[in-house]
Subunit: 436 residues, 2 copies
Amino acid sequence: MQTPIPSQLVQETIENLRIKEIGTATIRQMVAVAQSLEEKTGQKFIHLEMGSPGLPACQVGVEAEKKALDNGVASVYPNIAGIPELKKAASRFVKAFLDVDIAPDGCIPTVGSMMGSLSSFIGVIHSRLPEKDTILFINPGFPIQPFQVDMLGFKKKTFDVYEFRGHALKEKLESYLKKGNIAGIIYSNPNNPAWICLNEDELRIIGELATQYDATVIEDLAYMGMDSRRDLGTPFMPPYQVTVANYTDNYILLISGSKIFSYAGQRIAVVAISDKLFVREFPALRERYGMARYGQAFVQSILYAFSSGVCHSAQHALAAMFAAAADGKVNFVKDTSVYAQRTKRLKEIFLKYGFKIVYDKDYDVAVSDGFFFTIGHDKYTGNELLRELLNYGVCTISLSTTGSDQQGLRACSSAIKPGDYELLEERLKVFAENHK
Amino acid sequence: MQTPIPSQLVQETIENLRIKEIGTATIRQMVAVAQSLEEKTGQKFIHLEMGSPGLPACQVGVEAEKKALDNGVASVYPNIAGIPELKKAASRFVKAFLDVDIAPDGCIPTVGSMMGSLSSFIGVIHSRLPEKDTILFINPGFPIQPFQVDMLGFKKKTFDVYEFRGHALKEKLESYLKKGNIAGIIYSNPNNPAWICLNEDELRIIGELATQYDATVIEDLAYMGMDSRRDLGTPFMPPYQVTVANYTDNYILLISGSKIFSYAGQRIAVVAISDKLFVREFPALRERYGMARYGQAFVQSILYAFSSGVCHSAQHALAAMFAAAADGKVNFVKDTSVYAQRTKRLKEIFLKYGFKIVYDKDYDVAVSDGFFFTIGHDKYTGNELLRELLNYGVCTISLSTTGSDQQGLRACSSAIKPGDYELLEERLKVFAENHK
């Protein structure tokens, strides 16, 4: 049968956009491919490529921002360490949903977790140079983070965790750490793009090795609470979001408002630094920045070099949303559970027509449904499948751009609209016919 | 006569705040010293140390932000290149007040000009490595900018322009440029901290040499329009703010909303890249970022590594304020002229009691009154004077922290309140008595 989108037109579009190899296309390039094909053909695409919030922003944040603007914050430089309201609310939020104690001092706003990771890479590396000069990535991951390390001229090591779940993680991690050059370890949990969730055993391994080998863990919690297998949404009550903070004092948490409160547009997050790391003194920091304490050097030197504080009204928004969540007035876990419901339906359709879930297990149990999922097909490499699915009006990104060694695609349920399920089913039916 | 603030108490306070050498104290440390002494003595300080807006935020911006928030921008990632409204309004604003043509493509929002300079240092250096690896600072300047260069691990050269005004600037600049290692040149105009304004002759020298030696000029226009000797506030009509853009194509302008619209709290600025530089291809950028064009690499690689776009509502605010200014509905020059009026009175009082203006001339004419001014005293070095004036309840920062070789202080009129003039007069009268 003819494909819904003519293959020749897809090829021309890719070439016109000067994409040499579709498997290396960025997310934004894939958006451009799909948009261009939609315009040319009048056919609707199933957009699984972007990881943007698909929900309206948390209204508590919007109201707090407007009130702050009315109160005149726009003219006033915000404190670089963050406004007191946000610092206190972040500390309480961390206690409510992670059951971890981090003092307000260590909760510091950043311009999204993008600046959180960029500034933390500088902090972690500059506190250790010259003997420890490398960041270790537990992949797959968000492609911009290793790019940040490259841009800064730092070194990195990476491995795909796929083959190293459970106790196998210990030996693998140790093979890097024992060389002595790893200053920091970064991963996201739940994972972007694979939606795997490291479990307590794995986090214990990471935490204990981080202590043993003195490597600072940067834990990206952009999707915290969104492991839908358990309800993580009741403040100050178990079950809690799992975190490495339970197993080491050598950690930095990145907590973003973008996904949990659908607040991506205002670029607001916090870096939460463990109390012990915050006051720990590093000779390399004293030499470079004239102040030895990690927290002080991070705020007064590194973050100050990025911006004279973070958008004042957005800080008030995040403070209000954190407080409302900890008070049980906003249930961000429930509010974002629609992504898991969508993903469940999408996965069912893909599985029905001969696809498979690539990252399908958390060691011994099935991965949860959530914001992202991974799909593969026995007849195709990831890059081939990415290309082939464009013929069927389905847009994704290749796992190969995320540091994964597996053959497959990352799909996101955030942009799914009513009617997309039926359209996907229709398209994949043709796909299955053509691939009998 | 006894000093208004006991010298012994000042000394204890400095020591308690662990400031080893008062002349190297940061602005925020000086704020802490003054606040602590105010609490201990109940005496009011004259606060000349901070360069924060002393006016309410431009209401056009506040209203635009609130409207954007009501329209749901908080959940939507802003385009990294900037929202179209802001790009177009910035381009028109540049034409209206600088009489310079820069296409909307080249007008890109940043999280304040702090991120503008930080990202531009990366862009300028990474486009030229390895042969050109150094940023040249025409000092005095904003201390954080050379710190940014240090943090990034780049090289810098600096000189105090005090002795090199007018045609002397050519030989001085060329002595650096002819070595071939200067990738970029940065200065602010009007100047923070000295409030000198480079004139057309000097900007021509800089521009022509930038072209000849291929060094990109980063012109920080944080205080544009605030040279009070001429009214620069009528859109699309001369006189215009002077700019190096008239003398080279090799430039980047930093235009911040913080001071001209008193919008510092929302952290919003634009980087305006010359049309020629925007499309210029650099082999070093292709190698490092996979894209050779400066503008593309700057937006899609460097800025992307900083943040997934700049605060969405703040972009709407700046777009509205730029548009209102170009339409003649907001006169930011008139709105900020109160700083010049304050500075005029403050300078008169300092001069009356035996102080002098350190950076007193723009080559052959007196400097304008504006946001900052410089003071010195024949009996004191800058650091000594900084310390001595604390005894009289006057807080400033030392010029030595700004890359100046001159002995004196930076003072800012932004925090002046009614009644401060009388208090300053009273305090300096005692100072003069004690220094007869």
